[in-house]
Symmetry: C2
Subunit: 344 residues, 2 copies
């Protein structure tokens, strides 16, 4: 039973969204202890009913007063909501775990993957009487670093080239619905409805829809570059990324090429990954069985495969790997709830 | 009118397949001159009728005698058919343009992308009274090198990291049909029919189905590595690739990271690509418009975009680009017909 009087009071902000719904599912699955929970969303969604842990709750409109007496708030309602209400909540003594990009690169805000850099949130606990902001990294970064960090700790990554295969879910529930609708339309020979991305997504793929920056990278790509440095506390590591949206529902895949400072052969890499928390290996060359987005959909752990010595580098200083992770779960809700668990 | 008495006699081997059909369409579109054409396929397909250039032809069974009097034969019926009948045809004086991988890495067999290395087939012409084997490169290699070679000529590629997003068409017409069938089934909540790949392809992706070699790469990936070296006549260039099949119908995409010997800034790269034959640029950062598989489907030219300085490399010694090309057309049939045109 996770409803306990002495347990922390929770709030879920953006509870009607894809990640918000997954927050509830993960909290429940993991028996997260709580004394109360507020279901918060925009005015538009206020009054809706959501189910959690065998009860029904009414969604309340998010206001400045929403956080009175709330110990932990999980936010996933977009960057502007986080910017408006996150600091407000933290001032009132709430510890905010924020899934948006609003505070990720802000100095002093821990950016945390619990398996990777738990030390970044040292000293932040419920019951210390102090609010705080903690940022959940971007989904692509989490999924990539879950597999790469154990290798990095062994051989130090010098440079990483990432190409992503990103699911619809990263753009929210409406994008997932549009992918299904478009697919039906294309199969029926009708023109596809393009409300979310402005182009055909069914049986197609396209460069990630995040805004393009002055350097020609899109924001999604630069998140991988910058968040990796912050999470690893390593200003030297070189990262480049190309982020592509593919017609897959809810799990991302990433092709990752690694250049190491120190040698790391592929068998050692496999042994390291076998022991890595939150990671499992699918790598059967004989049957051509490797990770796919479907393997990890609705799963907690990140799958890694295609582990092989990079033939374009001399000796054992390079590896190619292929990683898949559920974008909504480990890429967002699960990671945030794991952060919340560390607050107890 | 491309039917001319003095023109070469043609044969199309594997005429009922996806590439075979595209051979006919490209020959017709380009007004390829011919005096006669034999439509060849396996016994199973013999007797079928195919349309070409306003006439109907009966498909004949491929035999050792099929090539008597044939000047140019376009082969796309798989490696084992090429191995059995290609050398036979060449001995009889036919110039074979082979789309399979059978002869690509054989010493003395030119491996040709007409825009890239036409010199490799110097001296091979219809009317010289001599047969020959000429190999069409793998689709991923052709599409990649169409965009990369002009940059290579300017700044010399030292190392190239490729991640592919490959369409169903690369596995033939049946794979394209299975993708459609599976997609319908998944939308209807039925289990997907998995005859071709043995796993769900609809709303999923997976490591390319080519056999895995001892070094952990699949054959498709090593084609990119080895064919690039042969086509560029450069044994030093370092290439690594990760080849992934995505639920897209008939055009491949490739994310390509380049490391150069000499500096090449992104504006110069754009100028070079603007002038490159068979290549066009889709690269509008303001509107987030970049190449997609649909842009190039049923098109001759390869589209390139996301042209940007690689932030993981110092100075102007690196670029990231994203390339899309029609797998059946430039990746196979068009390239082969262009080779045939050079024989005249």
């Amino acid at each position: 039973m996770s409803l306990q009087e002495s347990a922390p009071s929770l709030a879920v902000v953006g509870v009607t969204g894809a990640v918000g719904q997954e927050f509830l599912s993960v909290l429940s699955d993991r028996d997260f202890p709580y004394s109360s929970v507020k279901m918060l969303a925009s005015k538009r969604s206020a009054g809706k009913r959501v189910a959690f842990d065998g009860r029904e709750y009414t969604v309340e409109e998010l206001t400045a007063e929403s956080f009175d007496g709330v110990d932990i708030a999980l936010f996933s309602a977009g960057g502007s909501i986080s910017k408006e209400f996150g600091p407000l909540a933290a001032e009132k003594g709430t510890i905010v775990v924020d899934n948006s990009s609003a505070f990720r690169m802000v100095d002093g805000v821990p950016l945390v993957i619990p398996e990777v850099n738990p030390e970044a949130m040292k000293g932040i606990k419920v019951g210390m009487g102090k609010g705080a902001l903690i940022a959940n990294p971007n989904c692509s970064t989490i999924i990539c670093l879950m597999a790469v960090t154990p290798l990095h700790h062994h051989a130090k990554v010098k440079r990483m080239v990432v190409s992503t295969y990103q699911a619809a879910s990263g753009a929210g529930a409406a994008a997932m619905e549009e992918l299904i609708q478009q697919t039906r339309e294309v199969l029926e020979g009708k023109p596809p409805t393009c409300n979310i991305f402005g182009q055909q997504y069914a049986f197609n793929l396209f460069s990630h829809n995040a805004p393009i920056l002055d350097n020609g990278y899109n924001e999604e790509e630069m998140k991988l570059v910058k968040e990796t440095r912050k999470i690893w506390n390593d200003t030297e590591v070189k990262v480049t990324a190309t982020c592509i949206r593919v017609p897959v529902m809810r799990a991302h895949a990433e092709s990752v090429n690694l250049q190491f400072e120190n040698p790391l052969d592929e068998n050692t890499a496999r042994e390291i990954l076998k022991k890595a928390p939150g990671v499992y290996i699918i790598d059967d060359r004989a049957s051509n069985t490797f990770p796919t987005p479907l393997d990890v959909s609705n799963k907690d752990d990140v799958a890694v495969g295609r582990i092989r010595r990079d033939v374009s580098q001399d000796g054992n200083f390079g590896l190619d790997i292929f990683v898949c992770g559920d974008q909504i779960r480990k890429g967002a809700a699960l990671n945030a709830v794991q952060i919340a668990e560390m607050l107890l």
